[in-house]
């Protein structure tokens, strides 16, 4: 763990606040940007490390975006954890609160429905990009590529609880394939 210097914390907050505000469609959709910022722009850690932290967040309950808190922790310890979480949660929360206050006036507004409809294909495209970016970070063997594809097909075609698939992933990982 690196010791938390002030500007690193500011950097963490600004990076993830910016990300949370651009991330329409949930934090999962913004995963490629998380990789870009963390690995390429700031050089905080390697792509497989990010993949590990995302996997930890997937395996625990709650909003999936919390891998951001773990990244904050790896970068700057406990203060980093707190600051990254605040960056993720605070700006969208304030925005949602403001929208809540004017919600009655927005009901059924045509631009709102157009915005919803228009953002749908982008959100799905980002989700697909998240899968491809994570796969390239995590799949270092043929067996893991096969695992990723198998899980994708199972999630697509069945209603199995995804948690079991993550357990299968752990088993495949331990078996050293």
């Amino acid at each position: 763990m690196v010791d938390a210097d002030f500007w690193t914390l500011v950097d963490l907050f600004v990076t993830f606040a910016h990300l949370a505000l651009v991330a329409v469609g949930g934090m999962q959709a913004s995963l490629p940007e998380v990789y870009r910022q963390t690995v390429e722009v700031h050089g905080w850690m390697s792509a497989p490390e990010v993949a590990d932290l995302v996997a930890l967040a997937q395996a625990s309950p709650g909003p999936n975006g919390l891998f951001v808190s773990l990244i904050g922790w790896r970068v700057a310890g406990l203060p980093g954890f707190v600051v990254a979480t605040l960056g993720l949660a605070l700006p969208p929360a304030l925005l949602a609160f403001g929208m809540s206050r004017i919600r009655k006036r927005l009901e059924g507004a045509r631009w709102l429905r157009a915005a919803q409809g228009g953002l749908v294909p982008i959100v799905v495209g980002l989700m697909l990009a998240s899968g491809s970016v994570s796969a390239r970070a995590a799949d270092d063997t043929i067996a893991k590529v096969a695992l990723t594809l198998a899980v994708a097909v199972v999630v697509w075609r069945t209603r199995w609880n995804p948690l079991w698939l993550l357990v299968v992933g752990a088993v495949v990982g331990v078996s050293g394939l």
Partner: protein, 203 residues
């Protein structure tokens, strides 16, 4: 968590500028502690994302919203940035108990998962160098990548997008996933095009 909700025939108007019209005959109103505890439970139970749990608890178990109300709030929250259910908790909290309600609801939602993920992070720090744990996490990461791909495929299948919609989807994927362009730039270009198309074509 009995007594977390009181059955009353009408919503309190203190937190809302005007009386909220009721769709159903009876609507449950959460108490402040009920708000916190219920969102705490949603957060802790929500493995693999909290969305499905949130609807089940808020609509089916507690009866704070009917399905139509919930869908409207969720739709608005999906247009807003940030975690969707986090946004729902803020709006629902505000509806029943104003700003304090929002704070209670979102902190209830985040508290449990944050504690759990903090413990997991601690374990990762302690055992991160252990080869067995490393390879287990590596396997989970490969499976998690499949979750994203599978979820996206499921959505593509269900949505039945128009050709233009599919083209925009493809552009978003190529720009972000393959070319690794910045999200902000891509959204700046794609979002207006796509929203304008939705406005004109009403897909």
């Amino acid at each position: 968590m009995d007594g977390a909700t009181d059955r009353v025939p009408d919503l309190p108007t203190a937190a809302t500028p005007e009386p909220v019209p009721l769709a159903g005959p009876l609507r449950a109103v959460p108490t402040r502690s009920g708000l916190f505890l219920t969102f705490f439970r949603i957060g802790v139970c929500g493995f693999g994302g909290v969305g499905p749990w949130a609807r089940r608890v808020i609509v089916e178990e507690r009866g704070w919203f009917d399905d139509r109300d919930y869908a409207e709030i969720l739709a608005l929250c999906q247009v807003l940035p940030g975690p969707n259910v986090g946004n729902v908790s803020i709006m629902l909290g505000d509806r029943f108990h104003g700003g304090l309600g929002s704070v209670l609801a979102i902190s209830g939602l985040m508290l449990g998962p944050l504690l759990i993920i903090f413990s997991l992070g601690l374990l990762y720090d302690l055992f991160g160098g252990v080869p067995l744990i490393d390879s287990a996490i590596g396997g989970v990461a490969a499976a998690a990548a499949g979750l994203f791909l599978g979820t996206a495929m499921k959505m593509i299948e269900k949505l039945r997008l128009s050709l233009l919609g599919l083209a925009i989807l493809g552009c978003a994927f190529v720009a972000i996933g393959l070319l690794r362009w910045p999200l902000f730039t891509v959204m700046l270009v794609l979002a207006p095009v796509s929203i304008l198309a939705a406005w004109r074509l009403r897909w």
